[in-house]
Amino acid sequence: MDATKVRINASLVEKYQGKLVRLIGKCQSFDPINKIATLDSNGEVRLEFFDEVNLAVGKIYEITGKVSSNEQKVHAQAVTELSDNTNLEIADKLVSYSQKVPELFIES
């Protein structure tokens, strides 16, 4: 868990292919058998899990994981459930602002 995980949303998935990321969004679908889910993070993000996980559709989660290097999906490594009132609009603004001050977020 030491490596920097850049805060992104759906619009930045392609830019961070192969990188460790952190994204906040609302669970839109979850398939526990195939261990896949979709997250609304200012757009749809496909998630793939290696470990057993239990998500609830409609709940808000923060996902840390690695963006696939050749597909538009994130291999999730950790899931944190956030409170239902988490403001996703503010979360998107945080993504935008954190991109502009890398000295606070990203190892050079």
């Binding site: 030491d2 409170s83 503010i90 603004k93 935008s96 954190s98 606070l104 190892e107």
Partner: protein, 247 residues
């Protein structure tokens, strides 16, 4: 950094007429919201002096992060916390008068994989930094996480001499669509909103200076209005008479 907002958002920051931040080092005695990367990047120019990172002096600090491991030491519990920018360890000494080491360990194990809000004093020993008198509290409303990180950005930019646009009274913390679609708020309502929004991450109180910058009115006027609101019981004072809080 020259045009922080790139015209993307109303509000934001500008370097226009920015003061020479090098000549005005900032000294803070209140809690400074930071990311863990800032803690790890901080240096101590003077032995036993304050830490400094990107022109921000760090003394009392606060940060948010997810507990990733809890380890029991002979007389303390070591809590490892990460926030996506880095990892740090917080050591909580076990007070055997208030519980056994096992009970203390169990308490912090309940925080595993959950967000916590940490405050404490950044100190050094043997050239290694640590957080003295750390307080580790679980986060229940995760807007506190967003607010905290935005506050860390805000403090960092102010220390670089980048100030909010005075002509636009919107802040980082007010959504653009909400501010255009919501009914126009009075000055008092806007002040109370700023205090309410910042209270979770500024537990010692929201300073009038920050309120003044966000609302876009003079600091004296902010203090006058806040004093009236405190007298009416609509706000309450922070750790000193010049800061304000609201649940």
């Amino acid at each position: 950094m020259a045009d922080f907002y790139d015209g993307e958002f109303s509000g934001g920051f500008t370097t226009e007429n920015a003061p020479n931040s090098q000549s005005e080092p900032r000294t803070r005695t209140s809690l400074t919201p930071v990311t863990i990367k800032q803690i790890n990047d901080a240096t101590q120019p003077i032995p036993d002096g304050n830490f400094k990172v990107n022109n921000v002096e760090l003394n009392m600090i606060s940060f948010v992060g997810i507990v990733r491991s809890v380890d029991s030491l002979p007389s303390a519990i070591s809590v490892t916390i990460e926030d996506g920018t880095g990892t740090t360890n917080v050591r909580k000494w076990v007070d055997e008068n208030s519980g056994t080491p096992a009970e203390a360990e169990e308490k912090y194990r309940m925080y595993l994989d959950k967000y916590v809000y940490v405050t404490g004093a950044l100190k050094s020993m043997s050239n290694k930094s640590y957080i003295q008198n750390a307080s580790v509290m679980p986060v229940k409303d995760h807007n506190q996480v967003l607010s905290h990180v935005l506050s860390a950005i805000h403090h960092h930019l102010l220390a670089q001499g980048i100030k909010p646009r005075p002509k636009d009274e919107k802040s980082l913390f007010v959504s653009e669509s909400a501010s255009t679609s919501a009914p126009q708020l009075s000055i008092k309502e806007r002040i109370m909103k700023v205090v309410r929004d910042h209270s979770p991450s500024m537990v010692e109180g929201v300073p009038p200076r920050l309120i003044s910058q966000i609302v876009g009115i003079g600091q004296d006027e902010v203090t006058k209005i806040c004093t009236e609101l405190v007298d009416r019981g609509e706000l309450y004072g922070g750790s000193d008479d010049n800061t304000y809080l609201l649940d």
